[in-house]
């Protein structure tokens, strides 16, 4: 705590006449800093990582963040006195230096429940991240985590299907689901595209997937894609006796376009549609409502998130985005692979998975979870691991993420030397043999490679996959790891 830095003159001014005299006050004098504040169960709590400009006192910086993300403007306004203004003021109540990161501070801020519109992520985000990130007294700011109170959680409908009901609809239990993104992501005609989908599904995958930037380009209009893909899906379903799906990306220029595409996907009997994170919060919530009405699984690709989630000192942690997405209501979201080609420290990534799947998320500092979060029975999101993973990593993936995840092997299926079906077989065999071994009590983390090698003796597609990719790994240092004190701070 930095209470020792605090000077008596800089605390909230209690005398109303002095407080509302025209002029400029420090934020901490205006009532946005209260070291004694005890957060209420109904408060939304935020943890910001702030880097104040040189010479700016960290407590004043924290108070400024609280002010600018709630009621404050740069100067005193008498019209505050027409309101019960103290309850509208967010309150910074704790500031601590970030361990091993000089110049950075963690600031805890509490927001009263009256500040937010029921069931609106757009409104919550407009407050919490609306203005503060460009605020001049700060060099940088990052929203690390948020605790949404149960009272507010209950105003959101959450995932339209949820991972439990998804499994019941698909009739797939006790193992991760398998998917692949159709490649090349751009340029295939509808007819060629459907070929890839058919081969992957018949070979043994549960899902194929449009990529984030497959919408309705000149080489393949959306209707054509949907028609060919659904023929592939149904044909593969008949060939295997399993429910199969392909995420039809309905992202378009307008929400009206998206409804139109979603309706056509439904008419063709697709079990799942897809949207990109770049469509924005209101559209996500609208498509979630549509999916709920139409028994549709809603897949979300987190397109664009790396622009603001990756750097530790500025932006928003993906764990916050994941929480907002669960509230907004998606059934699948991409949450990282830890072992693949895209950014992700394993424990930090596990934190995102917990946010998707927990009934109650406990504070877990090594995983970057700073608050307890009661999900109030909100449905659970199926996390998706996608990007640069292959069959040779199956033991690591199962060990890191457990059963409730979609493992997506795009290149790892379609790039298989024996063809797409062979690629799908390799992945499915690797998955099943690893689940079986884990259930039998084997130590898959260490014995995994041996378990795969043995299975490959009777499965040449798996042998080919291991020969092709067995040694591939992406070992780069992560830019986004959790910075936490060895002695845990209290969750509030």
């Amino acid at each position: 705590m930095l209470n020792s830095l605090e000077k008596p003159a800089d605390t909230a001014i209690k005398d109303a006449k002095k407080r509302y005299t025209a002029g400029v006050l420090k934020y901490r004098q205006m009532g946005y800093w209260d070291a004694d504040y005890a957060p209420k169960d109904t408060d939304t709590l935020c943890l910001f990582r702030i880097t104040p400009q040189d010479g700016v006192d960290p407590i004043e910086a924290a108070a400024a963040v609280a002010g600018e993300s709630s009621t404050a403007t740069w100067t005193v306004v008498w019209t505050d006195r027409l309101t019960a203004c103290d309850s509208y003021r967010a309150k910074a109540y704790k500031v601590e230096p970030v361990p091993n990161n000089p110049g950075q501070y963690f600031a805890w801020i509490a927001y009263d429940i009256i500040l937010f519109e029921e069931g609106s992520i757009a409104n919550m985000t407009a407050s919490l991240i609306g203005n503060v990130f460009g605020f001049k007294p700060l060099k940088a700011a990052r929203l690390e985590d948020v605790r949404v109170p149960v009272a507010y959680v209950k105003t959101f409908k959450g995932p339209p299907t949820g991972l439990i009901v998804e499994r019941e609809r698909l009739d797939k239990f006790g193992r991760p689901l398998l998917g692949a993104t159709t490649k090349p992501k751009l340029g295939l005609s509808g007819r060629n595209y459907g070929r890839v989908v058919y081969e992957g599904l018949k070979g043994g995958l549960d899902f194929m997937k449009d990529d984030e930037n497959i919408n309705s380009q000149p080489f393949m209009h959306w209707r054509d894609r949907y028609l060919y893909v659904m023929d592939a899906v149904n044909k593969a379903s008949a060939a295997t006796g399993e429910v199969k799906g392909s995420y039809l990306n309905v992202t378009g220029a307008t929400v009206e376009d998206m409804y139109q595409r979603a309706e056509f996907a439904k008419e063709l009997g697709s079990v799942i549609i897809m949207i990109d994170l770049v469509v924005g919060w209101s559209t996500i919530q609208s498509m979630s409502n549509w999916s709920r009405k139409n028994d549709m699984i809603l897949h979300l690709h987190r397109a664009g998130h790396g622009t603001y989630t990756r750097q530790k000192n500025h932006g928003i942690s993906f764990r916050v985005i994941a929480k907002w997405l669960r509230l907004a209501g998606v059934d699948h979201m991409h949450t990282g692979t830890a072992v693949g080609k895209l950014e992700g420290d394993p424990m930090t990534v596990q934190g995102y998975y917990n946010v998707c799947r927990d009934s109650f998320t406990k504070q877990d500092l090594p995983r970057g979870l700073f608050f307890d979060q009661d999900w109030a029975d909100l449905r659970k999101v199926m996390p998706v691991a996608s990007g640069g993973i292959h069959a040779g990593q199956m033991h690591q993936l199962l060990d890191l993420f457990g059963d409730d995840v979609v493992l997506q092997f795009g290149g790892g299926t379609i790039g298989h030397p024996g063809g797409i079906q062979a690629g799908a077989v390799a992945n499915r065999v690797a998955l099943e043999v690893m689940v079986k071994a884990r259930n039998e009590g084997r130590d898959i983390k260490n014995e995994g490679p041996e378990i795969l090698r043995r299975a490959a003796k009777t499965c040449s597609p798996l042998q080919q996959a291991l020969d092709t990719w067995g040694e591939i790994s992406f070992n780069y240092a992560s830019t986004d790891t959790s910075d936490y004190a060895v002695t845990p701070a209290a969750s509030n």
Binding site: I164, F173, G204, R223, K235, T240, G241, E242, R428, N439
Partner: protein, 148 residues
Amino acid sequence: MMTNPVGRITQGQFSYLPDLTDEEISMQIQYGLNKGYAWSVEYTDDPHPRNTYWEMFGQPMFDLKDAAGVLMELQHCRKTFPQHYIRLMAFDSTRGIETIVMSFIVNRPDKEPGFGLVRQEAAGRTIRYTVHSYATDRPERERGSGGA
């Protein structure tokens, strides 16, 4: 005979692996029991992907904590319906889960008839699809004891 790479219906957790031995099945049962799941045995001759309700071979075994006992039920079912599909399912009643958490096929007919895809052409290049179980082409009573 089906034309997919493993030549059979691929539902459940382990259809891509060689058939599990009884000893291997017992290990899976034990894993479920250790987690507090309840096992049940179900059978059908129509494994259509949307045929959710296979026949229950008795009630789910909520109170049976012994893998050998579950395996005995399975063997009883196999003896009664040797040419049916039989699956073992584990149920987890934990709040927020309350669903099946394991499911795998432990018996199959010698010949798996598979499915046909019926396409009905509709307006605007749309096609309506029906997955048809060849197994259901004969009346229920003629398909072996118990139907389903």
